[in-house]
Amino acid sequence: MLHIINQSPMSSSTLDTCLNVATGGDILLIEDAIYAATAGNAYEAKIKEAMSRFKVYALMPDIEARGLADRVLEGVSTVGYDGFVDLVVANSNCQSWL
C-alpha cells in the first residue's frame, strides 16, 4: 500500500498513527509532511526507524518550496509529480491520511 501524508509530524499525529498502524509499504511525504524527511528535525529518529519497514519518498517541489532541498535525510527518495503518479500506479491501494 502507498501511504500519503501531508502534515508535519511536529504538529500532527498523522504520521505517527500511520507508522503505528500500517504494516509496511511505501510512504510518500507531501506538503508540510516533507519536514519529516529533513535532517535534524525532532522526528528524524522515528523516520529512520521506519525505513526498515517502509520505503520513504518525499515530493521534491514541496521540499524546494520550503527551502530544504539541501537537507533531505539520507535514505529518503525524492520524487517529482511524475514519480508521485508512478507510485500511485505501482501500488494496488493507497491511503491519503488526513
Partner: protein
C-alpha cells in the same frame, strides 16, 4: 477483490466530532455509499474513537447531535465497525462507553485489515 464488481471500502475516522466537520461528513458519505451495495467498513482511530462515545448532548453548543445515526448503520447493512484498541485505551474508554457494537482491533490487526481494502477514505 471478492465478488465481481464489489469493492472493499474502508472509511478511516481519526477526528473527534463537533470540533471539525470531518466526522459528520464521513457519516454522510458512508450512508450514501450504502446505496451502492459495496463492502463497507468503518475504522475508528485516534480521536475518531470519540465519535462513538455514549451520552453525547449537544444542546449547549447548538449543534446537531449525529451520534444516534451510528445506530442506524445496521439498518443500512453496514455492520463492520472497527475500533483501534490502543486509541480507545489511551482515551480512558472501554467498549461499554461506545454507543454501538464494535470489533476492537490492535494496531497490527487494523493495519492488516487496511491492506485488504480496495479503497480507503480518510476523514
Amino acid at each position: 477483490m471478492s465478488e465481481e464488481g464489489i469493492k472493499k471500502f474502508m472509511f478511516v475516522n481519526r477526528k473527534a466530532p463537533y470540533g471539525t466537520v470531518y466526522a459528520l461528513e464521513s457519516l454522510e458519505v458512508v450512508l450514501i455509499t450504502a446505496a451502492f451495495d459495496q463492502d463497507v467498513s468503518l475504522a475508528f482511530l485516534d480521536d475518531g474513537v470519540y465519535q462513538l462515545k455514549k451520552g453525547q448532548q449537544t444542546k449547549g453548543i447548538e449543534t446537531k447531535n449525529f451520534s444516534p445515526t451510528y445506530r442506524a448503520l445496521e439498518g443500512y447493512d453496514i455492520e463492520k465497525l472497527y475500533v483501534e484498541k490502543e486509541a480507545m485505551e489511551a482515551r480512558g474508554l472501554t467498549e461499554d462507553d461506545l454507543l454501538v457494537d464494535v470489533t476492537v482491533l490492535t494496531r497490527a490487526e487494523m493495519g492488516a485489515l487496511m491492506d485488504e481494502q480496495d479503497v480507503l477514505l480518510s476523514f
